[in-house]
């Protein structure tokens, strides 16, 4: 296992696992902050894929790699994920402030 060179596919697998963990975390956790963590996981999976695709050494035809674009996209993704987390947390805290509960299931006001 350690002798085989690493390819994009390996990264994709790790990314997939991260993605799935993020989704499950989001769906099962009742704590708002838990859901935010799930979101973080999903975003990091995405960034991982970007980076994986940008490295020419990981694939057969080198030119098809994203090269610097992958990096730049990953950068933008990281920055925006941070900003998004800030806003999400602000909303969560506001909700907690007004309803004194962090439990997502209790936030059912907008139901049909």
């Amino acid at each position: 296992m350690f002798t085989q060179p690493i390819g994009v596919a390996h990264y994709l697998v790790v990314g997939a696992i991260l993605f799935v963990c993020g989704i499950v975390c989001m769906t099962t956790k009742r704590n708002t902050i838990g859901i935010l963590m799930g979101v973080e996981l999903v975003l990091s999976a995405a960034i991982l894929n970007f980076v994986a695709f940008s490295q020419p050494a990981f694939r057969v035809d080198q030119e098809a790699s994203l090269g610097i674009d992958g990096h730049v996209f990953a950068l933008f993704a990281i920055v925006l994920a941070a900003a998004e987390a800030a806003v999400a947390l602000a909303i969560a805290l506001n909700y907690y402030n007004n309803h004194s509960t962090i439990d997502v299931d209790r936030a059912q006001d907008l139901q049909g």
Binding site: L93, Y96, N97
Partner: protein, 401 residues
């Protein structure tokens, strides 16, 4: 003192965190002795402080009812163990008042000298401990360096460094050893220039000023209404010092001495001392002013000692021979307050004619000073609590007795 809305230090709490009851417990490093403060905090902001005392209670007063007047002297030492001499003086003067006994003039000058020395030692430790509360370690060590010299002097006089029980009813247990005055003189000479150092170290240190100016603001009328005394009262601008306005039996000691009460009268302190200017953030009655009053009192005490030494050496006569241990006390009662370093120390003796007093009660200055903490100890940050407590210069021994 409620915090006004526009007070910069009012930290707006945003997320509604739950109130937290925190014990700045008896064994907390910054509470001088064993004071327990229950803080109701919300995040960093303290909304309510309630002091709990009684951890150092040794029921000295009850024991006082089974001892004769002079036997009670050592107990007074252990009340305010940093200013033992003042306690002895207080008790002995109260008894002398009951006995209507007059001690010779030389004894009085001796008493002044000793008491003022003890005041300096006490203030020095107060200053050092306050520095420790605010996080700097070095001033504490400088303070102890000076204090050690004074304790050496006291050791020379009465053999003890902390619990002296030297001044007794009728004068002092024994006279000053020869050459003591010269040692004292030498101490004073090398001590005075050092005071400048302490100012630079703390009083005018920008971070110190930031941590103390405007914190724990104690308005004059509140200080009076809570019965604060001593530097705490004078720090709030109330011009009151028993050495000058006390009972005649006590103030007679200080007759002939020219000294001025250290207090900010209409905007400035008595200008016969070269002292650093008051920073603009400091408001009258805040921690900085209390600290500043103590520092100036040290300088005042130095001048008093010098005068006392001259007077002592000039007057003839004995130093006040103490009465016998089982000296009978006349029936009746007497109450006298003296200006100790931390405030007024009052002693009340009720006797039914026998040598053993019926009731020996001590009224402690620190006790009322502590009672203010509830009032000025809220609406500030946790880090301010030690600063406020330190500025009040509390001593649990005197409070719990």
């Amino acid at each position: 003192m409620t915090m006004q809305a526009d007070d910069p230090r009012l930290i707006e709490f945003d997320v509604r965190t739950d109130e937290m009851l925190v014990n700045m417990g008896p064994q907390h490093p910054s509470t001088h002795g064993v004071l327990r403060l229950v803080l109701r905090t919300d995040g960093e902001i303290v909304s309510e402080t309630t002091p709990h005392i009684g951890y150092l209670h040794r029921c000295a007063e009850k024991i006082g009812e089974n001892l004769t007047a002079r036997q009670f002297i050592p107990y007074t030492d252990r009340m305010d163990y940093l200013a033992g001499m003042n306690m002895n003086l207080g008790w002995s003067l109260a008894v002398e008042k009951l006995l209507q006994m007059e001690i010779p003039e030389k004894g009085r000058h001796l008493r002044v000298m000793i008491v003022e020395l003890n005041r300096i030692a006490s203030h020095l430790l107060g200053m050092g401990a306050y520095g420790l509360d605010l996080g700097t370690f070095s001033p504490f060590l400088y303070a102890f360096r000076e204090r050690e010299k004074i304790l050496d002097l006291f050791e020379a006089v009465c053999g003890a460094r902390l619990t002296y029980s030297y001044l007794t009813i009728g004068g002092a247990t024994h006279d000053l050893p020869p050459g003591w005055l010269q040692q004292c003189e030498a101490f004073l000479d090398q001590f005075e220039p050092n005071i400048e150092e302490y100012h630079t170290l703390l009083t005018t240190n920008q971070i110190f000023v930031k941590r103390t100016a405007g914190i724990g603001l104690l308005p004059a009328e509140m200080a009076i209404s809570y019965g604060c005394t001593g530097p705490v009262l004078r720090g709030s601008g109330v011009d009151c010092d028993l050495r000058r306005d006390g009972e005649p039996i006590y103030t007679r000691m200080y007759e002939g001495y020219d000294f001025e009460i250290i207090c900010e009268r209409d905007g400035h302190y008595p200008d016969d001392y070269d002292y650093p200017p008051v920073p603009k953030e400091a408001q009258l009655g805040d921690c900085w002013h209390r600290f500043y009053v103590r520092m100036l009192e040290v300088v005042q005490s130095v001048s008093l000692i010098r005068q006392a030494m001259d007077k002592y050496s000039q007057t003839a006569g004995d130093y006040g021979i103490p009465v016998r241990f089982n000296h009978k006390l006349p029936a009746g009662e007497a109450y006298l307050e003296t200006e100790s370093s931390r405030g007024w120390m009052g002693f009340h003796i009720v006797s039914d004619g026998t040598a053993v007093p019926l009731r020996a009660r001590a009224r402690s200055g620190c006790f009322s000073n502590l009672s203010v903490i509830g009032e000025i100890g809220h609406g500030c940050l946790i880090a301010d609590i030690p600063a406020i407590v330190g500025s009040l210069d509390l001593l649990m021994g005197e409070i719990d007795r």
